[in-house]
Amino acid sequence: MDRLATLLSPLWPVEASTYAGNVDALMIFLLVVTGLVTIGIFILILVFATRYRRRPGHEPLQIEGSTLLEITWSAVPLFIFLIFFTWGALIFFQERTPPRGSAEIYVVGKQWMWKLQHEGGQREINELHIPVNRDVRLIMTSQDVIHSFYVPAFRIKQDVVPGRYSYTWFHATRPGIYHLFCAEYCGTMHSGMIGDVVVMEPAQYEAWLSGGGATGSLATTGQAIFQQLACNTCHRSDTQGRGPNLAGLFGKPVVLEDGRTVIANEDYIRESILNPAAKVVSGFKPIMPTFQGMVSEEQLNALLAYIKSLSQPPASVAQTPNLQSPGHEQQKPKVQ
């Protein structure tokens, strides 16, 4: 098996996430099925072209067609296509539904670099250090044009769009260094917007975390910004504020002044900071000024982390992710 893998390595990408194996299984199924059908068609054409080549005394036979054949070769492919669709959809569904309790990492794309913010406060550019065997969810946005976060070894890709958040997640299975590419054309140095995803053993990852020189968790940074911008004068931790109390807000439904109900997700909070008049909470006046242009994408991420932390039991605020998930395998780091 190892020898086969070595032999195929220039032709097949390394699998370094739980998701990658699922994608590859479907890929192999597709290769086999479409390969057989394609070869079948080619053989038929070659056989017909040889067997029925022009020869003296050989008259062509005029055939009008066959409804039965037409129905067969429409229905059978359609049935096979439905298998392709269903299998692909199931995998995609998995890619779109991160498990609860995933570690969250914030990603900001800009021309032409990736900026990453860990919950523990560590910040990186074009390098993402993550522990093996842990669910990691990325919350991504762009501060200029559209980019796309692509890690071939994980088989994940997600466009990163300015003005909104997009998400992806993965569960790395194999320590090593893997390519991070920008996959959506973004200008001059699009091909330079690349980096490394470094998947580490838990012990090494701990060492990396403590060596990072982070001054405080992302939520703490967010709290500082919250106070700096004087958000706390209105959004107080009691019911007396001129703005809604933000404790326990994240992920919950919010009733708006116009009667609509929205879920307080990342996009809602972002909009409420940058364009507060868009969705006014029921019972409050539209008095909040816009913070458009006053907070950077990274500061917004810190604010998000802080507001999220208000919805968690105090003990877990700004804690580093739990690294020792059960059943992880020990593997040597492998540079790809």
Binding site: W12, P13, V23, L26, M27, L30, T34, T38, I41, L44, I45, F48, A49, Y52, R53, R54, H58, E59, P60, L61, Q62, I63, E64, G65, L69, E70, W73, P77, L78, F84, F85, G88, A89, I91, F92, E95, V145, Y150, P152, R155, I156, K157, Q158, D159, V161, G163, S166, H179, F181, C182, A183, E184, Y185, C186, G187, T188, H190, S191, G192, I194
Partner: protein, 546 residues
């Protein structure tokens, strides 16, 4: 033969009716306009081809060393825009369709000859603007103009390129309009819908897409221009716009545009395969209706270009499912072409070699489309070289093979001369080999993870890139050859008679080249399409045995 040559030299036909430049620039003869288009798109094909070769040369090494990053970005953007809007979309419809639609249905000309000429002028004006844009600043948005990069960040001639494609779009709309009206109103007596050559059905379906889809592209590009010039907030989120709105509008046209390129080529296939198998088409009505089905379903699948762009889970599921619906009529066509060869009497002529090449390459392009429609696979391979390989198999492997096959098949009718058969076969073989060597490695490269539009790339992708570049040089030879021997044949080629292939279409029942008004008497059709039982079983002019 010498008497035939003398007669054809004396006979007046569309080519010798006038010689001055004015007789061409002010012509309303659909056949002459077809030749105007031929010259125009051949020019743009070589412009686009040179850009492609420069791209492939840059990618020979992992480092960005041949050209600057900005130059490279302009190369692939302009390659795409020129090839799509100034070669592929006009190619078969505006050249072969223009020449053949009236001839095949027994009409004197298209319904609106002056509008036909106007559409050529629009393409030329658009082309000049595009060339000017390329000279003065270039365009670096990709052919896709994705916002907000195109509206707020690019420093290149985006407005000019947008206006150019806007104008080219009207050329395409007018051609489509002309074909729809002509096919409805000008069929010869007895040429019922069920007797139409499938080339006509394919062009009918294509015209519907051109009419319904192109205006959306025009509006979209106009909005890009407005946002860029007047700083409106339509697509740019900073100004309150929505960048995904652009992608929806763009692909609403640009996905069906793929069928504008491939449907006419499928139409050509039916004519060639039946003629050189000496068979009627297998399953006429299924092949005809599959063209219409492709045109209709083609409008319902656009968001499969956006699975990772940020559309919702459920819209992704729906567009994935719908994308498979458009694959069924394509599969029907491939099966019917194969079945048509069954118990035929097959001659390996140049057009047939292109047709077989088409089936092979289109099948591979179509099959890999099934991978891309599958959500789980698409996430990994979208925006990689896998996609590049896939759509080149369809648009170059399919559409260009179809175009070249058609050019060879109807060259005797168009020029009145035969091309050298053995050179034709050689070129077909070179194109097939060069194409596969260029684009097959790109499937592997894409699954390995090489993103598209990369000026420099990690060293592990180099071997595959070198193979691809080597293939591109072979492909270039394959494309140059027909141009050389077609030009040669205009002077030195054997004189072609009215029907060198013993084919059954109406276009073969008038002289080669046809007289200005096509038929001396309006033909009356009393037979079904592809009635090959009615004519001698052998195409006479393919005497050279392989």
């Amino acid at each position: 033969m010498s008497t035939a040559a003398t007669i054809s030299a004396e006979r007046e036909h569309y080519l010798n009716k006038g010689y001055g430049i004015r007789s061409w620039l002010f012509t309303t003869d659909h056949k002459r306009i077809a030749l105007l288009y031929l010259v125009t798109i051949t020019f743009f094909f070589f412009v686009g081809g040179i850009l492609a070769l420069l791209i492939r040369l840059e990618l020979l090494t992992p480092a960005g060393d041949l050209v600057q990053a900005d130059t490279y970005n302009k190369l692939f953007s302009e390659h795409g825009q020129v090839m799509v809007f100034f070669f592929l979309i006009p190619s078969i419809p505006a050249v072969l369709g223009n020449f053949l639609v009236p001839l095949m249905i027994g009409a004197k000309d298209l319904a609106f000859p002056r509008i036909n000429l106007l559409s050529w002028y629009l393409l030329v004006i658009a082309g000049i603007i595009m060339l000017h844009a390329m000279m003065v600043g270039g365009v670096d948005t990709g052919w896709t103009f994705y916002t907000p990069f195109s509206t707020a960040f690019s420093h290149t001639s985006v407005v000019e390129a947008g206006i150019s494609i806007f104008i080219a779009g009207f050329s395409s709309i007018l051609t489509g309009l002309n074909f729809v009206v002509t096919i409805h109103r000008m069929r010869a007596p007895g040429m019922t819908w069920s007797r139409l050559p499938l080339f006509i059905w394919a062009h009918y379906a294509t015209s519907i897409i051109q009419l319904l889809g192109t205006p959306v592209l025009a509006i979209t590009l106009l909005l890009v221009v407005f946002e860029r010039v007047f700083k409106l907030g339509i697509f740019d989120p900073i100004r309150g716009g929505d960048p995904l709105l652009f992608q929806h509008l763009f692909w609403f046209y640009s996905h069906p545009a793929v069928y504008i390129m491939i449907l006419p080529a499928m139409g050509v296939m039916n004519e060639i395969i039946t003629c050189f198998s000496r068979k009627r088409i297998f399953g006429y009505s299924f092949v005809a209706m599959s063209s219409i089905a492709i045109a209709v379903f083609g409008f319902l699948v656009w968001a499969h270009h956006m699975f990772v762009a940020g559309i919702s889970l459920y819209s992704a599921l729906i567009f994935s499912l719908l994308s498979y619906s458009v694959a069924v009529p394509s599969a029907i066509k491939v099966f019917n072409w194969t079945a048509t060869m069954y118990k035929g009497s097959i001659t390996y002529s140049t057009p047939l070699l292109y047709a077989l090449g088409f089936i092979g390459l289109f099948t591979m392009g179509g099959m890999t489309g099934l991978y891309l429609a599958s959500l789980g696979i698409d996430v990994h391979v979208t925006d990689t070289y896998f996609v590049i390989a896939h759509f080149h198999y369809i648009m170059v492997g399919g559409a260009v093979m179809g175009y070249l096959g058609g050019m060879h098949y109807w060259w005797p009718k168009i020029s009145g001369r035969m091309y050298p058969e053995s050179w034709g076969r050689l070129a077909a073989l070179i194109v097939f080999i060069g194409f596969n060597l260029t684009f097959f490695p790109q499937f592997v490269m894409g699954y390995l993870g090489m993103p598209r539009r990369y000026w420099q790339y990690p060293a592990e992708f180099q071997v595959l890139n070198v193979l691809s570049t080597a293939g591109a040089t072979i492909l270039a030879v394959g494309y140059l050859l027909p141009m050389v021997y077609f030009l040669w044949s205009m002077r030195y080629g054997k004189i072609a008679d009215a029907n060198p292939w013993n084919a059954v279409g109406l276009e073969w029942m008038t002289e080669s080249p046809p007289p200005t008004f096509n038929f001396d008497e309006t033909p009356e059709v009393t037979w079904e399409a592809y009635d090959y039982g009615r004519v001698p079983p052998q195409p006479r002019e393919v005497a050279v045995e392989p």
